[in-house]
Symmetry: C2
């Protein structure tokens, strides 16, 4: 068997999320459907670095699968792209050595979150940004980002719907926010992220940006270790899984 | 009756075009459906500056309609936006005097056409650009644009499916192309445009950009006065009705 690794991008707008589940189409389903065609009806299981929620996008999701086919690795990308719908795209493919595993071998991830900060919505960006009408205080949000960086117990920034039993301590290497024209872009790099963590971080930062909370509230929110202490969960469509590190 | 004028934007991806027709939903249908609700079930006819094709977008389409309602003009925009789907948006509303007509009073229009010029597609721009892999010669296309400007008989750049019986002479005030990062943007301003004219102009310019035709071919194509002389019709999703002048 040959283990193939792929970096894939997808527009999550039309999907119920990455992972196969009873309701609605998923990215994994589309990948496995395309691989099944290439394998003449045989099922091939795809393993990703992790899930993404409904309507969340990826520019650098990483997957692996095992195949008995002896297709040169340089042809895998084109082969799969010709079978995939136009909202899922293979960007790179290679054949890693030494038992690579897309999920267990991750050392970190980067997420970005895009907000349109303008009185009017931009309908051409509606699937790729969330819309905040009130002007946002970038300086205050930047200060708050400083409190997010580092090793913390992020229980307050984790959805109670998580099925995680273990520790909720994670290390955020970088949390930042910048203004780009009519958009505000949040960047988070970390050792790992809990369920809905980025969206709850963004929701809380947006409340700080609107002046409803102070940057100095972050340490207290972390200390509280309860979801109620943090802000709202920001909507999914602004979120992009940007890069997975190994 | 009060005549209301509106500037509207729409993402044409999900529509069969602007104008009401038997197959598939249209922008006009959505506008009239929303107005019908506001008028408690009474039909209100909407007149636009002109049609746009299936999958073509607008950032500055202009419409008018007549209403017996005495809603302050400053509230019309919000009223209609609250009823419209999220891919159609009223940007401005006013109450013009002197019998304004959205179609008959136009003095010119501006269209823009966006091309992604890169070996790989960008799936987040797939509904708003057409994709050209081969590198494009901007200088050659700019030169060709010079031949398009001015008053010409544009029969060669008009779809034979047109129902226009009259003259196909139009004046192009401006034809231009520029490179913006990974995209190439075409701009056309003119007194009026024939059926598929912008898309045939772009399709022909792209053949010049790829070196398959010379900029100097444009005068001959115009002179030929037959659709076969020009290039392919570029796909609809890169096209935006940008502005209508009165």
């Amino acid at each position: 068997m040959n283990r193939i690794r792929m970096t894939i991008a997808y527009d999550g707008s039309g999907y119920a999320g990455y992972q196969v589940q009873p309701n609605g189409g998923t990215i994994q389903e589309e990948l496995e459907k395309a691989l099944k065609k290439i394998h003449k009806g045989k099922t091939v299981k795809v393993t990703a670095s992790g899930r993404t929620d409904a309507r969340v996008h990826a520019v650098g999701q990483v997957i692996h699968f095992d195949t008995p086919l002896e297709i040169p690795v340089s042809n895998w990308r084109r082969a799969l792209n010709s079978m995939l719908p136009d909202d899922i795209q293979v960007k790179e493919a290679d054949q890693p050595t030494g038992g690579f595993h897309a999920r267990y071998d991750t050392t970190g991830k980067e997420y970005r979150y895009f907000v349109r900060n303008h009185p009017d919505p931009d309908l051409f960006r509606r699937h790729y940004t969330s819309h905040v009408k009130a002007p946002l205080d970038i300086t205050a949000m930047k200060k708050a980002c400083g409190y997010i960086e580092g090793e913390h117990d992020f229980t307050s920034f984790c959805s109670p719907k998580t099925d995680l039993k273990g520790s909720k301590v994670r290390t955020i290497f970088k949390a930042d926010v910048e203004s780009r024209g009519e958009e505000v872009v949040f960047t988070f790099k970390g050792s790992g992220f809990l369920y809905n963590m980025v969206r709850i971080l963004v929701g809380t930062l947006l409340e700080i940006g609107k002046g409803k909370r102070a940057p100095e509230d972050i340490p207290d929110i972390l200390k509280a270790r309860t979801r109620e202490a943090a802000g709202r969960t920001a909507p999914p469509q602004g979120l992009f899984l940007w890069k997975v590190d190994y």
